[in-house]
């Protein structure tokens, strides 16, 4: 029998001690806190893949040692490698990007792309048809990923590019249009705006007005206004909505915001190494009373979507989001329904569950984030309206 040399024993012993310390520390903490061991639920039920995955996820999140070590490890990785965790990709000039959006843009699509596209198109067409059966028209709005509009802030390789649209996005839009579904092309709107805007850095393509926030995954106040104007214009051009008579004015409001991407890192030391973004937002207010814009629940136009509707509306400064600016363009108060991160499917399920939300509507404007084409929460099932 051969003996292991001492360095190898040390390495093996250290490795075993390291992996054992996680379980041992957790067991100790559980004993001190009077809890049963975390493994108990796994052993006292019928074993299944779902049960094991849930157990693993529970362990990852609840591990006492991991929760204490994670911030230090992340801080070290950020200092040495500029890595910001699983969800955030650091770009150039202090800009941050949401990893799923970057993956959407740069990764090849999985082999089942045709099936995925088919599901999306079927789900959207079924929703359009169900709305049409109720006499409601549907206008689709894809909120572009930040990486699609600012690829040059992600990598210097995209320096000369004003916007880049994944061919999967283009393909889905083309298939929807072939079925007669109206889609607002915000990609062209933002690309054109970026090209027209005066460059401030010697022609590198960075405009005086930025249409997305640096530390956030969402659009900036100028981006919201640009999108709102494009959507409202399409509604008017289609003749689906007539301009109303409401009088709205704009009121400047200073906003200081720690972006959602920075908050996602969940490490205080990393968060503190960035200054919160400060910018001017424009609130929509009543032209006479100066009261901030409020939705009209009885409006004939219902706007549904995700956090691209929420930003500046349910968050500071309020009355400054996409819906408020659309209302100003249309001179018509609108109604809205927001499902954070659930613009693709959860919002349709809400309407299916509560069809009274569609009573009295003639138009539904449906917004969802571009990345949902591939990464929608709950996928793209057909959801029938009852």
């Amino acid at each position: 029998m051969s003996h292991l040399p001492p360095p190898n024993i040390l390495l093996v012993g250290g490795f075993l001690a390291a992996i054992a310390s996680v379980g041992a520390s957790q067991a100790l903490v559980a004993l001190i806190e009077g809890e049963g061991p975390r493994v108990a639920p796994l052993l006292t039920g019928v074993p299944s893949a779902a049960r094991v995955r849930a157990f693993e996820s529970d362990l990852e999140e609840s591990s006492w040692l991991a929760r204490r070590l994670r911030p230090w490890a992340q801080s070290l990785r950020f200092s040495l490698l500029r890595e910001m965790g699983d969800d955030v990709v650091p770009g150039r000039d202090g800009w941050l990007f949401y990893r799923p959006s970057v993956r959407y843009l740069v990764e090849p699509w999985p082999g089942h792309r045709d099936g995925l596209e088919g599901s999306i198109v079927s789900a959207i067409a079924a929703f359009r048809d169900d709305l049409a059966a109720r006499g409601v028209r549907m206008l689709l709005v894809l909120a572009p990923n930040k990486a699609s509009i600012y690829p040059d802030r992600l990598s210097r390789r995209a320096d000369a590019v004003a916007a880049v649209v994944h061919d999967g996005t283009l393909s889905v839009i083309a298939r929807l249009r072939a079925l007669g579904i109206e889609v607002v092309d915000l990609f062209s709107v933002f690309e054109t705006a970026r090209r027209r805007a005066e460059p401030v850095d010697g022609g590198r393509g960075i405009a005086a007005e930025l249409y997305y926030l640096g530390q956030d995954s969402h659009w900036s106040p100028p981006g919201v206004r640009l999108a709102a104007a494009a959507v409202a214009r399409r509604l008017l051009d289609l003749g689906w909505v007539e301009r109303g008579e409401a009088e709205y004015a704009l009121k400047e409001s200073r906003v200081q915001r720690t972006g959602d991407l920075l908050r996602m890192v969940r490490v205080e030391s990393i968060e503190q190494s960035f200054e919160p973004e400060a910018f001017q937002a424009l609130q929509v207010v009543d032209a006479v009373t100066a009261v901030p814009y409020r939705d009209d629940p009885g409006s004939t136009v219902l706007v549904i979507g995700d956090s691209f509707l929420r930003i500046y509306s349910q968050e500071d400064p309020g009355a400054g989001g996409l819906v408020a600016h659309m209302a100003r363009e249309l001179r018509l108060p609108l109604s809205s329904l927001v499902s954070d991160g659930g613009g693709a499917t959860l919002i349709r399920q809400t309407l299916s569950r509560k069809p009274t939300l569609l009573a009295g509507r003639s138009v539904v404007v449906w917004e969802f984030a571009e990345r949902d084409i591939r990464f929608a929460m709950e996928g793209w099932p057909v959801v029938r309206l009852r």
């Binding site: 061991p37 796994l42 893949a49 779902a50 049960r51 969800d87 996602m264 954070d340 659930g342 399920q349």
Partner: protein, 167 residues
């Protein structure tokens, strides 16, 4: 010969470890409390229009996940054990919990106020004593992750207060 002996040794260790873990797991399993008494605090008996003790039947894969960017509610399936207040006729009900990856004492925020409880972590098989409202859409407008969508006809309840009542 040595290899066979080592394999047997490893098998023995694996069996011993599994048996030990099973014994620990079973012995540390909490004894079920009598439903009518367990988990009754002043909040759960006062809040909401309905109060039940129910067993969490399962946690579907992907129903509870940590989500830093947005808030959501998830629908979980319960077997009703006792109705303390209100009218619940079904044996199985579906209840929406707000941000279920958080301990109930930390779940309330600026957007959803007034919810809570002493439950730390959701686990299948637990008994919960809950103060509820119904339907969920009257109390929470936001993302609702519902892995049972289209698989039941009844209403979705909204969990106002959730206390642990044993396993």
């Amino acid at each position: 010969m040595t290899a066979i002996r080592t394999e047997r040794g490893l098998q023995g260790i694996a069996v011993a470890l599994t048996a030990a873990a099973a014994v620990i797991g079973v012995s540390c399993r909490r004894q079920p409390a009598a439903p009518s008494a367990a988990g009754a605090d002043s909040k759960v008996t006062e809040l909401g229009s309905i109060e039940v003790t129910a067993r969490l039947v399962e946690i579907p894969e992907g129903a509870i996940f940590k989500r830093e960017m947005y808030d959501y509610a998830t629908v979980l399936k319960y077997q009703v054990l006792e109705v303390h207040r209100g009218d619940v006729s079904e044996e199985t009900i579906y209840i929406g919990h707000y941000n279920p990856f958080k301990p109930r004492s930390e779940a309330a925020d600026r957007r959803v106020e007034g919810i809570g409880g002493n439950l730390e972590v959701f686990r299948a098989g637990q008994m919960h004593r809950m103060a509820l409202e119904v339907p969920i859409d009257d109390y929470f407008m936001g993302g609702i992750v519902n892995k049972y969508f289209g698989r039941f006809e009844g209403p979705i309840y909204w969990a106002v207060w959730t206390d642990e009542a044993g396993e």
